[in-house]
């Protein structure tokens, strides 16, 4: 490369002096370590909450219940921990691969502080119930805008660096970074589109099936383009560096790249198999998800074969060991993913604990392990020293591995138990376990195992923290070391270069191609479904939520009930027996946002309306164990103290009306009065059954109104 160039035209070439910005990499490294510990602590906490409900409610504080902490955990793990890790790795490797300092020191710093502020904002809003109610996209609209802004800063800084590079050729890792930056921007912007009610409340512009598709197009590609492609870029840079040998097959890495970028974007609907999503979209999702197996394994094999010949070092060098394990888990979870996307497997596995098990094989096995390897590599390089203790790193490795294996296996066991019990039908055609709670108590032991597994992983992380800290402490920081490289100008193109070799250098063309690859898939999948809104047969009996029910729904979203409950019934015998008629697309057309959920820790609630008397819900929300022995659902005592907030109701109805929800002028004008009247009716019934008479203006009443409405317009259970 530069050596060949210099032979061609050494006379005319200009030698330039520059230095790397390693300070920003160190900052991102430190942020990664801190937020990683926070994310894992949160994860361990919510794992214990599922094992033992009391962990939810120390003093019945609303902000530390499962439904509110789980979104904080996922956001912290994905965007705070993995996000900072990506930025550290990208900024380190890009400067070196392109022989230049980052484009702008100022932008780098805005990027750093902006991202940390966003994380702090997430921690200050999610526990307090400010959420958009869509998984991994919970953050409210002002934070969404900040994310978009900081992402643009990152993009300018990154593409600016490409512009000022001194290496014409763009190494494959950088391709992965480019695809990441472009795709994440597209995903984030389109999924977050919403209309604000006030500063910290907004409604998704999409409803029901449309919202579900957009959300899982986003959700799956957050996995693809936040947890996979950037980390693969890191793999293609750091594994060769650590092994001190080039990647096994550069060609395979290119095929890996284009295949992933092209295929991943289609895979989202595998989260919605057997729902009321159009059949063809489900088929596309399944076919492309299954095809993902091939390129993913191509990548895994490429990563592992890069280590051929240094296997003896893998045993002793913690960096290589962690990376080799990460790549192996990448292989495992990219095998499991396609498997879970096959409709017949999905029928059994969906909504069970297999899914969290699968996700953690990816996030702990692949993202954490690879990040750990990269962190040891970076800290020793950036602080110019050796690892403080290989022994501690070894301990970390084993704790993390054992913890993860406990996690995965306990969730498999839980999933098979759940699934078998949910589906069991006896010869007379009745459910063998009609009470959902029977299936819950059976798996609580597995939840304990998972919680201890998670604790191991958390402790392993703390050990790494200490090890990295001690490593940095004994090292020293040297900034501004002068480096030299030839400027990239006309003279650096080989005289006889073929056109496609020049193309290699055209980052713009390349970026446009990757953008096209993801847009084609997105368009074909999304547009027909969005458009089909107009074609969903509107049933006269499906009416908008009443004003009070809207308020109740907002409480449902605020408390994160969707983290344990689904709201969509699949057309399967056992589900129909247990939950009622299969859910239909037209039943959700007023659901901004949709609340289908993805996991059934508790039963499906789509047709819970009318299943129980109001008083049952009243007692159940006060303390689920009062009515259901052995329940692990948290109690929601604060709903019995806090008053219904009617202030923003007119604005809420107005926003809904803007979306085309057909509220009558009367409802829009007298929303509050109507809500109060409905609350009064419900209260009278509750008081008759023994509730205190001042319950009328409390949030529990609105929530009951919403729950009792669910699924009743079209498919009330008889």
């Amino acid at each position: 490369m530069s050596s060949t160039h210099s032979q061609n035209s050494s006379l005319t070439r200009r030698l330039e002096t520059f230095s790397y910005d390693d300070q920003i990499v160190r900052w991102f490294v430190i942020a990664t370590v801190i937020w990683g510990a926070v994310a894992l602590l949160l994860g361990t906490t919510i794992a214990f909450q599922l094992a033992y409900w009391k962990v939810n409610g120390l003093g019945d504080l609303p902000w530390i219940t499962f439904g509110r902490l789980r979104p904080l955990h996922t956001n912290a793990a994905i965007f705070a921990f993995c996000g900072n890790a990506i930025f550290a790795g990208i900024y380190y490797s890009t400067q070196r691969l392109l022989k230049t300092r980052l484009f702008s020191d100022a932008l780098s710093r805005i990027h750093f502080w902006g991202w940390q502020l966003i994380i702090v904002a997430a921690a200050l809003t999610l526990p307090f119930g400010f959420t958009q109610g869509k998984e991994y996209a919970e953050l409210e609209w002002p934070i969404d805008i900040a994310i978009a802004g900081i992402w643009v800063v990152f993009a300018i800084n990154f593409f600016g660096t490409l512009k000022v590079r001194r290496e014409r050729h763009i190494y494959v890792a950088i391709w992965f970074y480019i695809a990441t930056i472009i795709t994440v921007a597209v995903l984030h912007i389109f999924n977050s589109l919403s209309l604000p009610v006030d500063f910290l409340k907004s409604y998704s512009v999409y409803a029901g099936v449309q919202d579900a598709l957009v959300q899982w197009w986003y959700g799956h590609n957050a996995v693809a383009f936040f947890l996979t492609t950037p980390f693969l870029g890191l793999m293609y840079y750091f594994v060769p560096k650590a092994a001190n040998r080039p990647v096994y097959s550069y060609r395979l890495s290119i095929i890996h790249f284009w295949s992933l970028v092209f295929i991943y974007i289609w895979a989202g609907p595998h989260h919605l198999l057997y729902t009321s999503l159009p059949e063809w979209a489900q088929t596309v999702g399944m076919v492309f998800s299954v095809s993902l197996w091939a390129p993913s394994w191509g990548g895994m094999i490429n990563g592992l074969l890069t280590l051929r010949g240094v296997w003896n070092k893998v045993r002793t060098d913690p960096v290589l060991k962690l990376m080799a394990t990460a790549v192996t888990f990448y292989g495992m979870s990219t095998f499991e993913g396609p498997l879970l996307s096959i409709k017949s497997v999905n029928a059994i596995a969906h909504y069970t604990d297999w899914i969290p098990g699968h996700v953690h094989a990816g996030t702990i096995g692949w993202n954490y392990m690879l990040t750990a390897g990269v962190l040891y590599f970076l800290v020793t390089k950036l602080w110019r020293t050796e690892i403080y203790s290989k022994k501690l790193a070894e301990t970390q490795f084993w704790l993390a591995t054992i913890g993860l294996v406990l996690y995965i296996t306990s969730m498999w066991a839980a999933a098979f138990t759940q699934s078998a019990m949910w589906r069991a039908i006896d010869e007379t055609g009745k459910l063998v376990y009609p009470n959902f709670i029977e299936t819950v108590v059976k798996i609580v032991p597995m939840y304990w195992v998972r919680a201890f597994g998670g604790t191991f992983v958390f402790i392993s992380f703390i050990i790494m923290m200490y090890n990295l800290y001690m490593t940095a402490k004994k090292g020293s920081v040297v900034d501004g070391e002068k480096l030299e490289a030839y400027a990239l100008d006309e003279s650096s193109i080989e005289k006889n270069a073929k056109p496609h070799r020049k193309l290699e250098g055209l980052t713009l063309v390349f970026s446009v191609l990757s953008l096209l690859a993801i847009l084609v898939g997105s368009m074909i999948e999304l547009i027909p479904t969005i458009m089909s809104y107009n074609y969903v047969i509107q049933k006269a009996e499906v009416k908008p939520y009443t004003p009070l029910e809207i308020l109740g729904r907002d409480i449902y979203v605020r408390e994160g009930c969707y983290t344990c409950h689904s709201q969509t019934i699949r057309p399967m015998a056992h589900e129909v027996l247990r939950y009622g008629k299969p859910s239909e697309a037209f039943e959700f057309i007023y659901d901004h946002p949709f609340q289908w959920g993805s996991k059934r820790t508790g039963p499906d609630l789509h047709r819970v309306g009318g299943k129980y008397p109001d008083m049952w819900h009243y007692r159940h929300m006060w303390d689920p164990r009062e009515v259901v022995q052995g329940s692990i659902m948290p109690r929601y005592k604060w709903l019995f103290n806090s008053k219904i907030n009617y202030n923003t109701l007119p604005k809420k109805l107005e926003v809904m009306a803007t979306f085309g929800v057909p509220y009558s002028p009367e409802e829009l004008q007298n929303g509050v009065a109507l809500a109060e009247a409905q609350a009064k009716t419900i209260t009278e019934g509750l008081v008759k059954s023994g509730a205190p008479s001042d319950v009328g203006n409390k949030e529990i009443v609105a929530l009951i109104a919403y729950l009792q409405r669910l699924g009743t317009d079209y498919g009330r259970i008889k």
């Binding site: 490369m1 530069s2 050596s3 060949t4 490797s93 070196r96 691969l97 022989k99 290496e167 050729h169 190494y171 494959v172 890792a173 840079y237 060769p240 560096k241 001190n244 080039p246 990647v247 550069y250 060609r251 290119i254 095929i255 284009w258 295949s259 092209f262 295929i263 289609w266 009321s276 159009p278 059949e279 063809w280 979209a281 088929t283 596309v284 076919v287 492309f288 095809s291 070391e481 480096l483 030299e484 490289a485 073929k498 496609h500 070799r501 290699e504 690859a517 084609v520 898939g521 074909i524 027909p528 479904t529 089909s532 074609y535 969903v536 047969i537 057309p571 299969p582 239909e584 037209f586």
Partner: protein, 57 residues
Amino acid sequence: MKSEVLSRFDMPSLPLIALILFVVVFIGYTWWTLKPSRKSYFEDASKLPFEDDKSKN
């Protein structure tokens, strides 16, 4: 009921179009990558991560 709704926007041709599109694109970039004339270029490219050690004088 379900089929009544789905019949309105069932698009059996779309998965097929998507698949054909993918196969065409796949053949395209695979051919582009595997062309023998690109071998030496890729060999050079795979060494890029090791150039930073060299550029330090």
